[in-house]
């Protein structure tokens, strides 16, 4: 059985490498990926007869999902990034029309929470789940806003998938250990604010 790999251009390679490895260039690569195919928004508006705002939402979610998949290595380069993005985008537009996606911005949050919860074995998982049901996301969010910019950036980068080592490089900390200590201090501070 033959299995030919389709060729994809060098820009795809560069983008993938920047998103996966080069932490300094990651943000730039995200923006480049967004800008490169933003004409999908107009195509989505025409093809699916949806307003620009909806097409933009579908496209932004597409880019965020693609970035996640590229970083996690789920995207296997069997097609070009363009084809891959267009497939996800079309699907999201269809979902939008079917009104299955009602709160798109919470998709990532739900996925992350589920991922972490599933790391815990039952019955401990159930205990944690019940406690989480009691937590107030709105209050937690407002307390997060009370933290200093440095803390917010540290926690934000970690939640976004950066390792302590990568954060140390990007934010010019002395070592990953210093990042970890600072990050956990910020988290502790957030907890104290939340509990108060």
């Amino acid at each position: 059985m033959t299995f030919d790999m389709p060729s994809y251009n060098l820009k795809d390679n560069e983008l993938i490498r920047s998103l996966q490895n080069d932490t300094v260039a990651k943000r730039k690569a995200e923006e480049q990926l967004f800008s490169q195919y933003s004409y999908f928004i107009k195509e989505g508006m025409n093809k699916y007869s949806i307003p620009e705002e909806d097409a933009f939402d579908a496209y932004s979610d597409t880019i965020l999902q693609a970035i996640d998949n590229i970083i996690k290595g789920i995207f296997e380069s069997r097609s070009s990034i363009k084809t891959y993005l267009y497939k996800i985008f079309s699907n999201k537009c269809v979902d939008l029309i079917r009104k299955k996606t009602t709160n798109k911005s919470s998709i990532h949050q739900t996925a992350d929470i589920t991922e972490m919860l599933f790391m815990i074995a039952d019955p401990a998982k159930t205990v944690v789940q019940q406690l989480m049901d009691l937590s107030d996301a709105a209050v937690l969010k407002s307390k997060l806003m009370e933290l200093g910019e440095n803390c917010k950036q540290l926690l934000g980068m970690f939640a976004d998938g950066y390792t302590d080592k990568e954060i140390a490089t990007t934010m010019e900390y002395k070592s990953p250990d210093v990042v970890k200590t600072s990050r956990l201090r910020c988290l502790d501070k957030l907890r104290q604010l939340y509990k108060s």
Binding site: M1, T2, F3, D4, M5, E31, F34, S38, I41, E52, F56, S60, L64, I74, E76, R78, S79, Y84, Y86, K87, I88, S90, N91, V94, S105, S106, H108, Q109, T110, D112, I113, M116, M119, I120, A121, P123, A124, V127, V128, L131, M132, L134, S135, A137, L140, K141, L144, L155, G156, M157, F158, A159, D160, K180, L184, R185, L187, D188, R191, Y194
Partner: protein, 244 residues
């Protein structure tokens, strides 16, 4: 702080085995610790959500900047000479289109069809959740390898399923596994119980592969589609003109 460090290590996958079990046991026995674990997960979720919102805001600003350079809705052109200039451009594009179509690359023709028709499949007929529908949804998420496994699983249980055969062929083609795609489309084409696009899809696969002799074989298949009045006959006729 000490507990947060411990919890952080757990979720980063830095502890395993017996220590992992001890962690979970402590959740069951120590309410305050369980509360910290729940907080850690909830906080990460909220922080991640905030990071996503900020990223989307950044994208929005980028998009707005792009629109300033290339507005989505351009101002209507009022002057006649501008209409004439536009008409000239359209005419030039049409001439170029006709000219280029004479020497169209077979692979581009196949790619264009795949791009236009197989980005997603079966999206409009999703009324019932079954194994075929679930495999289609995986395909529509561009997880072709996984989708092919699902279609093949369906075929294992129901070898006569025309739709599963067709979709297994399309998915194999998306994976550039031409031998497998040809195999599935041949099975489809051999089923003469009702008209199906098997032969036309075989032609697409050959044009996409574009090896020595593939173009000739594809043309023979397209001619058969026309002569035997098979599904996709009109499309086949158009392609024959383009490929001549």
């Amino acid at each position: 702080m000490e507990n947060l460090d411990y919890i952080d290590e757990y979720f980063k996958g830095e502890i395993s085995g017996e220590k992992k079990q001890q962690f979970e046991k402590r959740i069951m026995e120590d309410a305050s610790f369980a509360d910290e674990v729940a907080f850690y997960i909830s906080a990460n979720g909220v922080i991640k959500n905030q990071a996503v919102l900020e990223k989307k805001q950044r994208f929005k600003e980028l998009y707005q900047q792009q629109q300033k350079v290339i507005p989505l809705h351009k101002e209507p052109v009022k002057m006649v000479w501008r209409y004439m200039a536009a008409a000239s451009v359209v005419a030039a594009v049409m001439i170029m289109y006709l000219f280029l179509n004479r020497d169209i690359n077979p692979r581009e023709l196949a790619d264009s069809y795949i791009q236009k028709n197989w980005q997603t499949i079966g999206v409009k007929m999703a009324t019932k959740q079954d194994s075929l529908q679930s495999a289609i949804e995986i395909y529509n998420d561009a997880k072709f390898k996984e989708a092919l496994e699902k279609f093949e699983m369906i075929l294992k249980n129901n070898p006569g399923s025309q739709k599963a055969t067709e979709y297994a062929g399309i998915t194999s083609l998306q994976l550039s596994n031409y031998a497998k795609a040809l195999q599935y489309f041949s099975i489809l084409a051999a089923d003469t119980s009702y008209s199906n696009p098997g032969k036309f899809y075989k032609a697409i696969t050959l044009l996409r592969r574009n090896d020595t002799g593939d173009l000739t074989a594809a043309k023979i298949l397209l001619q058969q589609v026309i002569d035997q009045d098979l599904e996709k006959k009109d499309e086949a006729a158009k392609w024959m003109k383009k490929l001549d």
